[in-house]
């Protein structure tokens, strides 16, 4: 080996890393810093309203459903596939739960059936994408549209509020140790997904599939199976979000559009890919991204901003998030070399 060459390249690698670590801190914790800055600014500007326990609980509680949708969205995204149907699966799940309870089912069987319904939706999506070879974006757009139609057919566009188990609606209104019950469920879901993605072979293989499908296949990862499972996971989380939706609203509401849940979730997932592990979708980043947008919207609303501001903020957050995270990803792929 040529020792001079090795040393030169070695130096090159180290300087690159040093440069990264100076800049890397900003990359890793930039979103967190922005979050803290916004939070502190609103806290100083509106200490009575923004900083009140009630408002903070409202923020956390209102974001719980979207958080679980975002977690669901993230799983196939790690493997490189979009599941646009998660939000709609959540709405459909809420209808399944409300319908069964209205029919006199007990809470647990109703929850079980809702999750089973989610798993079946995911299996259909997963089969279409992994084994049918359809583009995930298009296949799930199609299945979401079909589901929307079925919801309307089943409910005649009327909300279902009889027979909702009080235990479930309590979850939406009561606090445990001062924390809203919904948020606790969302946190539990986040912990499970984080564990799955970061600490198990499943998560690592899924990330390998997202990095290069052909390479993953040729090192012995069962790519199709991984993609299939990722869609099942995403729809399962979607149906869990559906249960939380019933808890939050006290009813199954067919008028809700899955896409109103999906878009903030999408922004959160992409914002998350610009935090903590730059260029990679990750659970802590996703949660932070979600809270960032929620705090911004809440603060602005309390400051008297009109309702349309929410859409503008969310849309811009989505664009900025996708822009930054894809720039980070490009750099990791070495496009700047």
């Amino acid at each position: 080996m040529n020792s001079v060459a090795s040393r030169d390249v070695h130096v090159a690698g180290t300087t690159r890393l040093n440069r990264l670590s100076a800049l890397g801190l900003a990359e890793r914790f930039g979103i967190l810093a922005i979050f803290v800055a916004i939070f502190v600014a609103f806290a100083i500007a509106q200490p009575e309203t923004f900083l009140s326990a009630g408002n903070l609980r409202a923020i956390v509680s209102s974001q719980s459903v979207v958080a679980v949708v975002a977690l669901g969205l993230m799983v196939p995204l790690v493997a490189g596939d979009f599941d646009l149907s998660v939000g709609t699966v959540a709405v459909a799940g809420s209808i399944v739960a409300a319908t069964t309870m209205a029919d006199g089912w007990a809470l647990l069987p109703a929850c079980g059936l809702t999750l089973l319904f989610g798993a079946v939706c995911g299996a259909v999506n997963g089969a279409l994408v992994a084994y049918g070879g359809l583009n995930g974006l298009i296949a799930t757009l199609g299945s979401a549209t079909v589901l929307t139609g079925l919801i309307s057919w089943h409910t005649h566009d009327l909300s279902i509020s009889e027979g909702i188990s009080p235990a479930l609606s309590d979850l939406g209104t009561k606090n445990v140790l001062g924390v809203p019950g919904l948020a606790l469920v969302a946190v539990a879901a986040a912990l499970v997904v984080a564990y799955l993605m970061m600490a198990t072979p499943f998560g690592r293989k899924l990330a390998a599939v997202g990095s290069s499908r052909a390479a993953a296949q040729l090192v012995g990862v069962r790519v199709r199976r991984m993609v299939f499972i990722s869609f099942v996971c995403s729809a399962l989380l979607g149906s869990l979000a559906g249960l939380l939706l019933v808890a939050q609203q006290g009813s199954g509401n067919p008028a809700l559009s899955g896409f109103t849940l999906l878009l903030p979730a999408l922004a959160a997932v992409y914002l998350g890919a610009s935090a903590f592990l730059p260029g990679e979708f990750n659970v802590p980043g996703t949660v932070l991204g979600l809270l960032l947008v929620a705090v911004l919207v809440s603060g602005l609303t309390l400051a008297g901003a009109a309702a349309w501001v929410q859409s503008v903020v969310q849309g811009m957050a989505l664009i900025i998030a996708v822009g930054t995270s894809s720039a980070l990803r490009r750099r990791r792929m070495g496009a700047d070399m």
Binding site: D8, K205, G279
Partner: protein
Amino acid sequence: MTQPPDTPALSVRAVSKSFGETVALADVGFEVRQRSVHALLGGNGSGKSTLVKILAGVQGADRGEIEVAGETVDASRTSPEWATSVGLHFVHQDLGVFRNLSVAENFALGSSYGSREAAPVRWRSLHRRAAAVLERFEIEVSTRARMDSVRPAMQTMIAVARALQDADEESRGVLVLDEPSAALPAEEVEVLHGAIRGYIRDGHTVVLVSHRLDEVLAICTDATFLRDGRHAGTSSLEGSDEAALIRAIVGADSASVEKPPPGARPEQTRLRVEGLSVGPVVDCTLAVGAGEVLGISGLVGSGRTSLLQGIFGARPLREGRVELDGEQLRLRGPAAAVAAGIAYLPEDRGAEAAFSDRSVSDNLAIPALDRYWSGLRQRGGAERRDAAAAIARYGVVVAGPRAPVSTMSGGNQQKVMLARWLELEPRLLLLDEPTQGVDVGARHAIHSQVRDAAAAGCAVIVVSSDAKELAELCDRVVGLVNGRLGEELRGPDVTTARCLEIANSLTGDEQEALQSLEEMTT
């Protein structure tokens, strides 16, 4: 623009370029004679590609001067427009051709089809002009042919013609070819070399960047060697040989790997393939012993990759059976093959082997993830320790286990791809072009690792279009011609020349068939 014959066609003077603290080029200066074929040689990371980028005006240098056709420019101020204006033309390795478009459209794309964006394309004049250029460069192909139906060497020639099309017939430019033959099979390379000699006859000058030393010796008249960003000499190649080139590139003799003498060890048959038909491969039967390295010498399209992928289960078999240590394999897919102890290193590292955006540690661990599963979580510490150990053992040059693979040179990436498999101690190792586009040092390191694995009892099959590699590395070499196994070489017969020969030799029947096929197509 005729110049006195003794002025250089291209002079590079004291060009320097740094990226941060890394010196890519330090005071590099040399001259290229008019009407010469000048090789630009050096290992990965020697500064070749940086120099080419500066010449092309894609990147500015920090200091230095460049003179082309009597015009001197500050090397920090080169631009693509300047390069075109002084007659510097570039054809890069990937050619930049659009494979799904016609030859004429490929000519036209640079000049937006010769009409305004929204105006209708004037097809007739487009084809006329393309035909004129093709005629000038003596390329016999229809302007209506789709690019991907044109033979590979011809595609390169079309790319060259496109680069030169705007230069009027009088001006004599400098043509820089960056690894033009890297993806070409042997007989295509010959065609390309013929074309290069033609450009010289027409009065052009060619600068050739290449890893193929046989090619350099065959067509280049002079060579400039770069080593670690420094100019390590420019000399005439008359009377030079491969050993001398390697010495000049590496700076020291690189010994070839040691092979055990033939028949040194009683070999137990490890792999037995019977009647395998997959892709273009028909009825292939072969056996490889434990500790044996078998070479497959075949051209692109001979079915060499299909053969390996068939054994690995990555491609469905039409027929045949594969036995490993006497047990018949059920080839359901790569996952099953990996579980059975088979490893496959694909030819296309970027697309099929590397997880470029992921760390070296990840790249090493992905086939072995289940090993690090403690039942509750992935043991990250053990994984990083193993990665650091592998980096040291395989001589990988990288900042650390967490650096993304995309930051490494090709040779080091390839070492990681091989290390990933060797760490699993496979029973059978399938290598597809293991050292393509890799510098001499990394190539030697990879060969030693493969021999070591064989010494430890692994059976190895190597597919390579580099006959020299097969001769150096393999105990036994079989030719693969048009999907059929051909002649077999053993022991002292395993030479570069014989390896090349058996990849090209056709049986009488096949020659006849091929001839009639050609008659039908013309």
